[in-house]
């Protein structure tokens, strides 16, 4: 036995030694989740930069993206080589063998495929519409510039300078020309002579020689016009402009025959033997023969007195053409000493081949041509500083380009909320199915499926979803884009859709990159799923933002700063700092932090709610909220989706409404009431009769206004631009004038009371800088030498009709506004002899303002007769003058589509959540049935769950929307901005109805799977999963 024991011990020792030397049994405390390789991270970052480049068209992003992709591929190759070098074997899964697996997997997971597809369709649709709308706008603008149906050729005309007075003369002459010869021109197919501007060389008084070095009198000006094809074909017959790259560039020279006579030119034209034209000029016995290709057209510069004979002679002589080419600028200047006066030169570019190119490229071509001309002229020793080569076409194209850029920028910015919604829907859906997929993957892993096989299956699923989503998204974006372009009314007539060529390949690439972004980490995570879930649970790490409560901090800090800005009064400088520097950051912090904050605490909210209801009522609602805790994390994400959608929708509803209200505020602020009539004599009662006799007018008041300029005021004697005194009639002002409670912290009644006591009202900003308070006396300048003491009875922030500009400057008070009682005004400030007043008139509600305006105009026209004129303005007219810009119309249209996208994503999100979660709650439903609940009760229970989720999210979204919109308006319409400031005015009724619609749609989308689940037989449910 001892021997056996010894042997046993020895063996144990051996075993121990064996274990120690082969101690590869490892501690699984921390699991072995593979860290994501840096090559993959760089690759993902690189392709995302490429994605941004495809959307924003910024070449720098493309360069950086490609570099990162290159680095990641190199790192990946190095890693792979190291892996193989270390003797790690890989499985022998061939691609061919994986196809059947992929097919089987796709067939099994059809319902999971839906998760990736639906949201991606919306995202692709949104991105595609940015392209299509931008390109269609470009195409439609292009068509408008070049007049649809006409072949676009451009003409560069008139090299030369001109003094201003001559231009006016010549423009008028041009009109006379066109009027007189229009029919003839058209008969010969010439639509435009293009002789709009003539140039004149002027010489120094002591020299008849042109001096190119000094450039005295020598300038060049080139102009573009659009001409039609016939003209161009005519011009194509002429020789080309030398030393330039534009083969159809021609010059045309027009001489002033009047001047020729003045300078004693003789022009002899002859037809040579070969039927070409020759022109001979004689000047002071100098004869110049201009070769056949360099002949001159003689015209009369003063076309209003044109000699018919001359014109017709020329047109008959040259077979209907009135244009003749000159070969080179040099020729022009060679003869300029002889012919010192006007000439006309034209250059033409044929860019019919460029019709399909965008304005940017055409602009570039024109710019290149200009640069070439500058270079040529410089080489010819012209003083290019005096040369101005301009192009009307390029100006129009540049305007179009700016318009396009602003439209594209607006489109992109406004589409961001929709993209966020759509991509979050995809993320939410993928998250929802990830856990369900993990169970399947667990089964597969038990059977020995390799990581490669898994990744191929999951990757194929993602690619398949991408292909479907991209195709459908691209197709749906076309009618959507058509709707946006035509509804926004940017173009007068029905506009067409233009599809850029690169759209066909850009969108699939974008779809693929988005798919990779959304799926890659999920694929890696799922493929590394542990078979034992408990191990997976212990190795889960929270994202870093969650661990450090960054979401909570961002939300609280953002909200705190914005609330502080709203309720605390700062001085202008501090206010400007907050408005322009801190406020936008705070708003962004809040917008990005709030969804994460809700995601963190929504499950806590559900728990608290269910505990509360369970203790208090214990009814179906309590049971429903109890049940929701099972899927509380998925429910949190769904709540965030609905909340974000409602928040954006609220912005979309309230911004247009607020802008419309703001325009009305502005109009009333500018006019001061419904109507304002200036130039009335306060001592002449007849001047007020049209107002008093008009039954639609319910209240009238009068004001006087003067401005004292460039005075020193205040203890610090800071200079101010203006002190604006306004005298008002305090007994009638309140009834007639326009007023808003935001204009002063004191009510208008109290302000009028102060005026009735003989006090004055001073603008609140001015009080600060004047170092005086309400109730104290203030010395106000009457003129440059005299002042008067007044007691300050109140203050205000804004006063209608006080300022000429509707903008407050940030850092200093440039205009001080003082409101005086009318009698004080008349007494102390009468030195200015202001006897005319402005009458403000208010009408009753629902009165036809246009009719009242017309009546007033007629009455005052009659009253004024030939001697007096009165200025009549109405708030209605001002309102109409604030025309909605193209950009605003586009914005409103996109906001409409945002409402639709929110509704769709809400329906999909709630429906999919219900569908997936209910399919796994069959046992739970079976237990309900087993304890006696009928199908109707189960249906109601499930619907209540959806109702609680949707209602809480919608309320939260609306509240967040109010805060975000109000804060946004506060930032853009603050004390340092527009007067009156832009404020949140939302249509409560529409907002409520829209929220109700979203709620109902969400309930319906949840009700369908709930109905299916509730109707299942108890036996089959209990037997099943």
């Amino acid at each position: 036995m001892c021997n056996n024991s010894e042997q046993w011990l020895n063996r144990c020792t051996l075993v121990v030694n064996y274990n120690m030397s082969n101690n590869t049994g490892y501690n699984r405390q921390n699991g072995n989740n593979q860290p994501k390789p840096w090559s993959l991270r760089l690759f993902i970052l690189g392709i995302n930069l490429i994605l941004l480049f495809l959307i924003l068209d910024t070449p720098l992003l493309q360069r950086i993206g490609l570099i990162l992709i290159g680095i990641s591929l190199v790192l990946g190759c190095i890693s792979y080589i190291k892996h193989r070098f270390n003797g790690n074997t890989t499985t022998n899964d061939s691609v061919r063998d994986i196809f059947p697996l992929v097919r089987k997997y796709l067939k099994v997971n059809r319902r999971f495929l839906l998760a990736s597809t639906l949201g991606l369709i919306i995202a692709i649709m949104v991105i595609s519409q940015i392209y299509v709308v931008s390109e269609s706008t470009t195409g439609n603008i292009y068509s408008e510039i070049f007049q649809n149906g006409v072949t676009p050729f451009t003409e560069i005309s008139q090299i030369g300078d001109y003094p201003g007075s001559d231009v006016t003369n010549l423009h008028m002459n041009r009109n006379a020309i066109e009027m007189k010869y229009n029919d003839t021109l058209q008969e010969y197919g010439i639509r435009s002579m293009g002789m709009n501007e003539f140039s004149r060389y002027y010489f120094s008084s002591h020299s008849t020689d042109w001096n190119p070095q000094t450039g005295a009198g020598r300038g060049l000006r080139m102009r573009n016009e659009i001409i039609n094809k016939q003209e161009f074909q005519l011009l194509q017959q002429f020789p080309t402009f030398p030393n330039l790259d534009y083969s159809h560039n021609l010059t045309l020279l027009v001489l002033d025959s009047y001047r020729i006579e003045e300078y004693n030119f003789t022009v002899v034209d002859q037809i040579s033997e070969n039927h070409s034209l020759q022109v001979t000029l004689e000047y002071n016995n100098t004869v110049i023969d201009i070769p056949v290709e360099n002949f001159w057209l003689l015209t009369n510069d003063d076309w209003s007195y044109a000699n018919d004979h001359d014109m017709r002679y020329l047109m008959n002589r040259y077979e209907g053409t009135t244009i003749i080419p000159n070969k080179s600028i040099a020729t022009v200047f060679n003869v300029s000493g002889i012919v010192p006066s006007q000439y006309l030169m034209r250059g033409y570019i044929d860019y019919s081949s460029l019709v399909n190119q965008n304005p940017t490229q055409i602009l570039q071509i024109i710019t290149n041509m200009r640069n070439d001309l500058y270079t040529y002229l410089d080489r010819q020793n012209f003083n290019i500083r005096s040369i101005d080569i301009s192009s009307q076409v390029s100006q129009r194209l540049q305007q179009a380009e700016s318009q396009l850029q602003s439209i594209k920028f607006l489109l992109t910015i406004l589409s961001v909320p929709m993209m966020i919604l759509a991509l979050y829907l995809v993320y939410f859906s993928l998250n929802l199915v990830e856990i369900r997929k993990q169970k399947q993957v667990g089964v597969m892993k038990v059977r020995g499926v390799s990581t490669t096989q898994l990744r191929m299956m999951l990757g194929a699923e993602a690619v398949f979803a991408s292909i479907i989503a991209t195709a459908i998204g691209m197709a749906l974006s076309l009618p959507w884009s058509y709707y946006i372009i035509n509804k926004s009314g940017i173009f007068a007539s029905n506009s067409s859709i233009f599809l850029p060529k690169n759209w066909y390949w850009k969108m699939p690439i974008i779809g693929l990159i988005l798919t990779m972004d959304l799926n890659i980490w999920s694929i890696l995570s799922i493929s590394e799923t542990k078979i034992e879930e408990s191990e997976a649970a212990e190795e889960t790490k929270e994202p870093f933002w969650k661990r450090f409560y960054l979401d909570v901090l961002a939300t609280i800090i953002g909200a705190g700063i914005l609330l502080t800005m709203k309720f605390v009064n700062f001085d202008r400088t501090v206010d400007a700092f907050f408005t322009y520097q801190i406020g936008p950051i705070a708003l962004l912090l809040f917008i990005f932090g709030l969804p994460l904050f809700v995601s963190r605490y929504y499950s806590t909210f559900l728990t608290i709610l269910s505990d509360f209801l369970w203790k208090r009522t214990g009814n179906l609602v309590a049971l429903a909220t109890r049940n929701m805790r099972k899927n509380k994390f998925s429910a949190s994400k769904l709540a965030v989706l609905l909340m974000i959608g409602m928040m954006f929708s609220f912005v979309a509803i309230s911004v247009p409404n607020s802008l419309k209200s703001w325009n009305q505020d502005r109009a009333h602020y500018e006019v001061g009431s419904d109507f304002a009539i200036t130039g009335l004599d306060s001592t002449n009662s007849t001047h007020f009769e049209p107002l008093t006799n008009n039954t639609d007018i319910t209240a009238i008041t009068s004001i006087k206004r003067i401005t004292v300029t460039q005075t020193m005021l205040g203890p610090r004697e800071r200079p101010y631009n203006n002190i604006i005194y306004i005298g008002i009639n305090s007994s009638t002002y309140r009834q007639a004038a326009y007023w808003d409670a935001s204009f002063s912290t004191t009510s208008l009644q109290r302000l009028m009371d102060a005026l009735q006591q003989g006090k004055v009202l001073v603008q609140s900003d001015a009080l600060d800088v004047l170092d005086v308070k309400v109730g104290e006396d203030i010395l106000l300048p009457i003129n440059r030498t005299d002042s008067a003491v007044h007691n300050v009875g109140g203050s205000f922030k804004y006063w209608p009709r006080s300022l000429d500009h509707l903008y407050r400057i940030a850092t200093w008070v440039s205009d001080v506004i003082v409101i005086l009682p009318m009698d004080v005004f008349n007494t102390d400030y009468s030195i200015y002899n202001v006897s005319t007043v402005t009458a403000l008139a208010r009408t009753s509600n629902n009165v036809n303002q246009t009719a009242v305006l017309e009546q007033l105009k007629e009455d005052y026209r009659e009253l004024g007769g030939q001697t007096l004129s009165f200025g009549i303005s109405s708030a209605q007219e001002f309102l109409e003058s604030y025309q909605v810009t193209d950009q605003n119309r586009l914005m409103f249209t996109i906001f409409d589509t945002l409402l639709l996208v929110t509704a769709i994503t809400s329906v999909i999100g709630v429906g999919y959540f219900s569908f997936i979660t209910l399919s796994e709650r069959k046992r739970e439903i079976g237990v309900f049935r087993a304890v006696g609940m009928v199908s109707t009760q189960i249906f109601v229970l499930l619907v209540i769950e959806a109702l609680v989720l949707a209602l809480s999210s919608i309320i939260l979204g609306d509240l967040a929307g109010i805060f975000v919109t109000d804060s946004y308006f506060m930032l853009i319409g603050s004390d340092v901005g527009q007067i009156p400031p832009l404020r949140l005015r939302f249509n409560a009724r529409f907002t409520f109805l829209y929220s109700l619609a979203i709620l109902l749609l969400s309930i319906i989308s949840a009700a369908i799977p709930a109905r299916i689940t509730a109707k299942q037989q108890t036996g089959s449910i209990l037997r099943a999963e």
């Binding site: 274990n19 501690n27 059977r447 020995g448 999963e1025």
Partner: protein, 297 residues
């Protein structure tokens, strides 16, 4: 313990501990398990709930790795395999049968598709898959239920289908975790019978984890596991290939660990009134060691 060259499964001082993430409490599921199972044998691991049976079986199946110790299955050192090596091991060496059918089968596939799917993973050709799937399903008695999905199979049928899936890739070892846990007695006996036939006809090594003591009489060896360690073993003395299981002679043995500790079965302790102490009496003449109760002093 000496490593047997005939053993297809060799565990040496395997431990496994877990950490509860919420409470940060660590608990040890296995405490130094030594186990040798011969190739072609049918072994049971029997113990109460929480004894560590499933943990042990999952380690044998390569689904979790031990915290310490070595695990060699069919000459594969599982404690040092990772990633795709483990996947390949599971694909080629072991077949696993869970207690719950939902863990054995993909619910949206039919019985036939489930069996074929397992072979698709292992790159069988289409002809081989069709032939073998049909054969296996007929073997387990599901020849007329091949196109039925999980929802349409009874519990026993689903478990038999799971068995067919586990055998699809011709494994050398079949690991079954409480395969009869959710079945009635009759179906349980059917499953046991299938397992015995598989073991006898195919020479497959079968390891069953169960709390059902009926398995004790149906296997070559049955290990009792208690509190994470092997407490004892009962083994068949007869060649069960030649006689019925119920007629086989069995003996109960104590398992001596590396520290020389052995566990005396409770019924023996009670029978022989073994309290706190025992003494060892050597009989050199016969070369035996006797363990007898010792008194308190």
């Amino acid at each position: 313990m000496i490593m047997s060259t005939e053993a297809i499964i060799q565990l040496n001082q395997v431990t496994k501990h877990y950490k509860d993430p919420s409470s940060d409490i660590r608990f040890q599921a296995l405490r130094g398990v030594d186990l040798n199972i011969k190739e072609g044998s049918m072994a049971a691991i029997i113990g109460p709930s929480g004894a560590g049976k499933s943990t042990l079986l999952n380690i044998l199946g390569g689904m979790i790795a031990p915290s310490t110790g070595s695990v060699v299955v069919d000459n594969h050192p599982l404690h040092s395999l990772q990633g795709d090596q483990l996947n390949q091991f599971r694909r080629e060496v072991t077949g696993f049968l869970w207690q719950i059918p939902e863990r054995n089968l993909l619910p949206s596939m039919s019985a036939l598709e489930n069996v074929k799917f397992a072979m698709e993973i292992a790159n069988y050709t289409r002809e081989e898959r069709d032939k073998r799937a049909n054969y296996l399903l007929h073997q387990v008695g599901l020849g007329d239920r091949m196109d039925h999905t999980l929802a349409k199979l009874s519990g026993g049928e689903a478990q038999r289908c799971g068995l067919a899936v586990a055998l699809a890739n011709e494994p050398k070892i079949l690991l079954a975790d409480e395969p009869t846990g959710e079945l009635d007695s009759e179906t349980t006996m059917e499953i046991i019978s299938y397992l015995q036939d598989i073991n006898a006809d195919m020479g497959l090594t079968v390891v069953v984890v169960t709390h059902d003591n009926r398995f004790e009489r149906m296997t070559n060896q049955s290990y009792n596991i208690l509190d994470g360690s092997i407490a004892g073993m009962r083994r068949s003395l007869s060649n069960t290939r030649k006689i019925k299981w119920s007629d086989a002679q069995r003996e109960e043995v104590g398992v001596v660990n590396q520290f020389g500790m052995v566990r005396i079965p409770n019924h023996l302790r009670e029978k022989y009134e073994i309290d706190e102490f025992v003494k060892f009496i050597e009989d050199e003449a016969t070369g035996r060691l006797y363990i007898v109760p010792a008194e308190h002093r």
